[in-house]
């Protein structure tokens, strides 16, 4: 029971880290970046290559993976989304799906469809509490998630750049009148989201060590679900949504049915959205005019 809970929180933490990328990009650029899940996969492959082919130690490989994904995120935004800044949201959505397929197929070309056995990046002994054992990966994932959550909250609430980000998310024209460079802010958001995706990639592959070009697709969709579940655009919402989703998935698998676990997850999402269309922590600000 406790084991399931910890596994659920740990899986949910990975979803939460991915969901943060979705929700931040949605908040600032008002678009659903469906290629976000595939950046996770790229993060997985980069760290895999760095350790397995280049023989780099764990920390430098992870840092390299974060760096590559950050740059990738900025490049994707510049090349694929920025030219569509004034286009309809449907055009941007379709482009995002296109970028997603592009990344998957590029990975297929470079790394082939054979699954790679991902090395456990967190090769530490498990922690024993009573007769429950918590794997080091689970523990590191949960801690990473908390650290990221706190850091992002401090960044958006306390720093000048973070506040500017919130200003851009609310009103781009007014933000420009303040002297805020909207394009740079959007780039920064993609950079942060993609860097987080790399972290999620390393953690996800360490826990589920099969790496394929489609590895990021399903977690990406689930994290998107988590972001909507928690209230898209909200950082704590992404966190809460991710962790709840992870717990529901693991408990669904354990007590109801392994095959139906995804169906259960999405059914809960539909139920929540029927009752609260803005998601758990999403809110509509009432405006006084």
């Amino acid at each position: 029971m406790l084991n399931y809970l910890i596994n659920g929180i740990s899986l949910g933490s990975v979803y939460a880290i991915i969901a943060l990328g979705y929700t931040m990009v949605y908040g600032i650029a008002k678009m659903l970046n469906f290629a976000h899940g595939d950046v996770i996969m790229v993060g997985g492959y980069i760290s895999f290559c760095a350790t397995s082919y280049l023989g780099l130690p764990v920390i430098p490989s992870v840092l390299l993976s974060i760096f590559v994904c950050t740059v990738l995120g900025i490049v994707i935004e510049r090349l694929a989304y920025k030219p569509l800044r004034a286009a309809t949201s449907l055009a941007v959505l379709i482009t995002a799906i296109g970028v997603s397929y592009f990344l998957q197929n590029a990975a297929l070309l470079i790394w082939s469809s054979n699954p790679k056995a991902y090395p456990n990046m967190v090769a530490l002994p498990p922690l024993a509490i009573g007769n429950t054992q918590i794997s080091a990966v689970s523990l590191v994932t949960i801690i990473a998630c908390i650290v990221i959550m706190v850091a992002l909250t401090l960044f958006t609430n306390k720093t000048k750049m973070g506040k500017a980000m919130r200003a851009v998310s609310e009103d781009k024209d007014a933000a420009q009148l303040m002297g805020i460079n909207v394009n740079a802010t959007i780039s920064l958001t993609f950079a942060i989201g993609s860097g987080l995706a790399a972290v999620a990639g390393v953690l996800l592959c360490s826990a589920y060590p099969t790496l394929m070009p489609t590895t990021g697709a399903m977690p990406g969709i689930k994290a998107f679900t988590a972001a909507v579940f928690g209230g898209i655009g909200s950082i704590p919402g992404a966190m809460l949504g991710g962790i709840l989703l992870g717990i529901i998935e693991i408990f669904g698998k354990a007590y109801i049915s392994t095959q139906l676990s995804d169906a259960i997850v999405f059914s809960v999402l539909i139920l929540i959205l029927l009752v609260k269309p803005t998601g758990l922590l999403g809110r509509k600000i009432s405006e006084k005019v």
Partner: protein, 235 residues
């Protein structure tokens, strides 16, 4: 000498020709108003000067330098600020955070002093500094919008319909503040539907009709101009 010089600008929204070759000037120390009916192009003109819209042809010069190739986010550091129509404050940020955004281009060391100045002018904002801006009343939101624009220490302050939706007593207060700002040395370019109020404080004024300037003169002249009286002053 003219501080802001707008020469023969044409502005389009897609196929709609919103501004049809208008020219006007604002001299240092003046209060200049643009008056006109809804849809005459007043806000479009201010948004174009502030860089949010780009004119198809024509030129805009501020303190002798063209603004045509200056991106919108670099205009404010040239020394002019726009307090936009509908206030456009950041509703989900606190009062203080809104003001901080106003000082985005200023050195951080100045921010505290600038905020203190704004609170001196608008004590109500100080009382509510930690409140989320969306919870303020309309008048308070307008004060916040003006305070936020002042945070960049503009030499030219552009105000778009600051009296919109406010009770008469607040309208007077807002105009009083505009007068004070001008006396303290800020040049003002004001867009208003409340022509009576606007003309009474303006040094000079332009009347806009469907994208063209039709009449111009001192505030006093326009207050006594028959056509202007008929169209905008109710007789």
């Amino acid at each position: 000498m003219s501080m802001l010089k707008v020469s023969d600008i044409n502005v389009y929204y897609g196929n709609i020709h919103a501004i049809k070759g208008i020219s006007f000037e604002v001299n240092e120390g003046e209060i200049v108003t643009l008056i006109g009916a809804n849809g005459a192009g007043k806000s479009t003109t201010l948004n174009t000067v502030a860089g949010l819209l780009k004119p198809a042809t024509g030129n805009i010069e501020f303190e002798g330098q063209s603004l045509l190739n200056v991106p919108a986010h670099k205009i404010v550091s040239r020394g002019m600020a726009l307090c936009p129509e509908g206030r456009r404050i950041f509703l989900q940020l606190t009062v203080q955070e809104n003001l901080e955004m106003g000082a985005y281009t200023r050195p951080s060391a100045e921010t505290a002093d600038l905020i203190a100045d704004v609170y001196d002018r608008f004590p109500r904002l100080k009382e509510r500094y930690r409140q989320v801006a969306g919870t303020l009343s309309g008048g308070e939101q307008q004060m916040l919008a003006m305070g936020r624009a002042l945070m960049s220490k503009p030499r030219l302050m552009m105000l778009d319909e600051p009296s919109m939706g406010l009770a008469p007593i607040l309208v007077e207060k807002i105009f009083e503040i505009i007068g004070e700002l001008n006396k303290a040395g800020t040049t003002i370019l004001l867009v208003e539907q409340n022509a009576q109020m606007a003309l009474s404080i303006a040094h000079r004024s332009y009347v806009l009709e469907t994208g063209r300037i039709t009449v111009s003169g001192t505030g006093e002249e326009l207050l006594h101009n028959d056509a202007v009286r008929k169209a905008y002053l109710g007789g």
